[in-house]
């Protein structure tokens, strides 16, 4: 009984040990193929699996879902993305305009100024729902993923291109327009 157990234990231990020693000496070379889109990807996976990240980068697909980007000129400030966001990481503040501002590249009419368009990437969970609902497709996910920072506030991306003066000016324009409309109604 003792001999049987001892023999079995040694046999199985030897099996495991021969497996690991194979890997130990197989570590002389790294795996050959990093890009999963290539043929024979799975045939070239023996050897060291480590990718020494900042020096070597893994190839990523063209249509990747990483950091968000907003083309603010195409934005009609409809607030749909902020409503769709499950974690509320998008904060939008709009200022109405008395007349049509312009058109986006796909022909939608812009009637609102984006006073604030902030996305907190620290909160973002990369679901992509905001990109789905956007009527003008101005909010997209890019292939940028390495944006580490030592300050948490650096992760709040501001996409609005309006200065404080411009915001104040547009606000006063709108209040003036409204006041004129009120005055016209009273007459």
């Amino acid at each position: 009984m003792v001999f049987k157990i001892a023999f079995h234990a040694l046999k199985t231990a030897f099996k495991g040990l021969s497996l690991t020693v194979k890997h130990l000496f197989g570590a002389q070379k790294a795996r050959q193929e990093l890009d999963i889109t290539k043929d024979h990807y799975f045939d070239n996976q023996t050897g060291i699996a480590t990718v020494q990240y900042p020096k070597v980068k893994m190839p990523i697909p063209e249509v990747a879902r990483y950091q968000l980007d907003v083309e603010i000129d195409d934005c009609i400030v409809c607030d749909l993305c902020a409503k769709a966001c499950p974690v509320d990481c998008i904060a939008i503040e709009a200022i109405k305009s008395p007349e049509v501002i312009g058109k986006t590249s796909d022909g939608s009419v812009k009637r609102l100024y984006p006073a604030r368009f902030d996305i907190d990437m620290a909160k973002c969970m990369y679901c992509g729902l905001c990109t789905v609902v956007c009527p003008t497709e101005c909010i997209t996910m890019t292939d940028q993923y390495d944006r580490s920072s030592t300050k948490l506030t650096d992760l709040i991306y501001g996409f609005s291109d309006m200065t404080d003066d411009q915001v104040a000016q547009r606000k006063s324009e709108w209040t003036k327009f409204q006041a004129e409309k009120e005055a016209a109604k009273l007459k």
Binding site: L10, L17, T20, V21, H23, L24, A27, I48, A49, T50
Partner: protein, 357 residues
């Protein structure tokens, strides 16, 4: 005056050796672990991460010594020293080369067994003194394990001593090669005193010695709390086991002790079974390989090389086999290793009477 100087120099040299060996072994261990798991291991500090352990020890040295509020202050502080000194003392009676031994005593093997057992007390002191339930659990497991495994280790040592008829490690080492002072035989039949080499090692002087050595190796693996017998520190269940509460230089001492213990048991195995400082190459006719590779420098080289090889095997085993459960550990010790060791001891006794006489 010269004597006093030597008495101070030798322990300092051994300590320096342990420290440098630990730095080297930790780096080697992390690299081996990486390669076995298809990783690279440390790569950033120095060329191929070679300065990683030096950076680690510098960090440890700078850290504050924190004693838990409700800890037993004296036990907590003394424990790492007790553990380290117990193993450090073990190095004093192990030969490095022909007649090159810190202390040449007639009861060297007995001293090692006695002194290294104190390690268990140090671990209990650390576990109890920390006043932490994980530490205490780890310490209790360690005691159960070390006390149990002392038995197969002791029995295998007796098996070897029955054949060598000596507790003096210097004599045991000498009688395994071409410089032997007694008649030695390969498997008890072929007088091999002039041939030497691997055939003259204790492990081949009797057929049951190979089994004895395997038992000794497994049991000493458990003695130094190495995986797959590392339940005292089982990271996944006990945080860090008995050294959970330690940091800084005290933790460094636990680490030194662990790696010194690895080297000590490897060296003990080499001295008792694998020919100590004797060369593995035999004399074949006029090709005097054994004569050419025997000498003071060669002796140190062979001891060092064989011990490092065994340390490498210990690391290899650690990154292969999963940890044993506490009951499996006791099963292995009491139901497998102890009976087999007893059997080997009986064979040794019969061998001594009937074959060697």
């Amino acid at each position: 005056m010269l004597d006093l100087f030597i008495h101070i120099l030798v322990p300092v040299a051994i300590f320096m050796f342990i420290a440098i060996f630990t730095l080297f072994a930790v780096y080697a261990e992390r690299k081996i672990a990486g390669f076995v798991q298809d990783r690279l291991g440390p790569m950033e500090t120095g060329k191929y991460g070679s300065l990683q352990t030096i950076a680690d020890i510098l960090k440890l040295l700078q850290k504050e010594l924190i004693t838990p509020f409700l800890a037993d202050k004296i036990l907590f502080r003394v424990a790492p020293i007790v553990i380290f000194v117990a193993i450090f003392t073990g190095f004093s009676v192990i030969p490095w080369s022909h007649n090159f031994i810190p202390v040449n005593t007639h009861t060297g093997l007995f001293l090692i067994m006695a002194v290294v057992s104190i390690d268990a007390i140090g671990i209990l002191m650390a576990g109890w003194g920390s006043n932490n339930k994980f530490s205490l659990l780890g310490a209790m497991r360690a005691i159960a394990q070390m006390v149990s495994y002392e038995i197969p280790v002791g029995l295998t040592l007796i098996t070897a001593v029955m054949l060598t008829q000596s507790l003096n490690l210097n004599d045991i080492a000498t009688n395994q090669g071409i410089l032997a002072t007694e008649e030695i035989k390969f498997l008890g039949i072929w007088s091999i005193k002039n041939v030497g080499g691997v055939l003259a090692w204790n492990i081949f002087q009797a057929p049951h010695m190979i089994v004895t050595y395997i038992i000794f190796f497994i049991a000493t693996l458990a003695e130094c709390n190495r995986a797959p017998f590392d339940i005292p520190e089982a990271e996944s269940e006990l945080v860090g086991g008995f050294h959970t509460e330690y940091g800084g230089i005290q933790f460094a001492f636990f680490f030194l002790a662990e790696y010194a213990m690895m080297f000590l048991v490897s060296m003990l195995g080499v001295v008792l079974f694998l020919g100590a400082w004797n060369t593995p190459f035999p004399n074949i006719g006029s090709i005097r390989l054994a004569d050419w590779t025997t000498g003071f420098g060669w002796g140190i080289f062979w001891t060092f090389f064989k011990s490092l090889f065994l340390v490498g095997i210990q690391m290899w085993i650690r990154w292969t086999l999963p940890r044993l459960r506490a009951d499996q550990l006791m099963n292995l010790c009491w139901k497998v290793l102890t009976p087999l060791a007893f059997l080997c001891m009986a064979i040794s006794a019969i061998w001594r009477i009937l074959v060697i006489t």
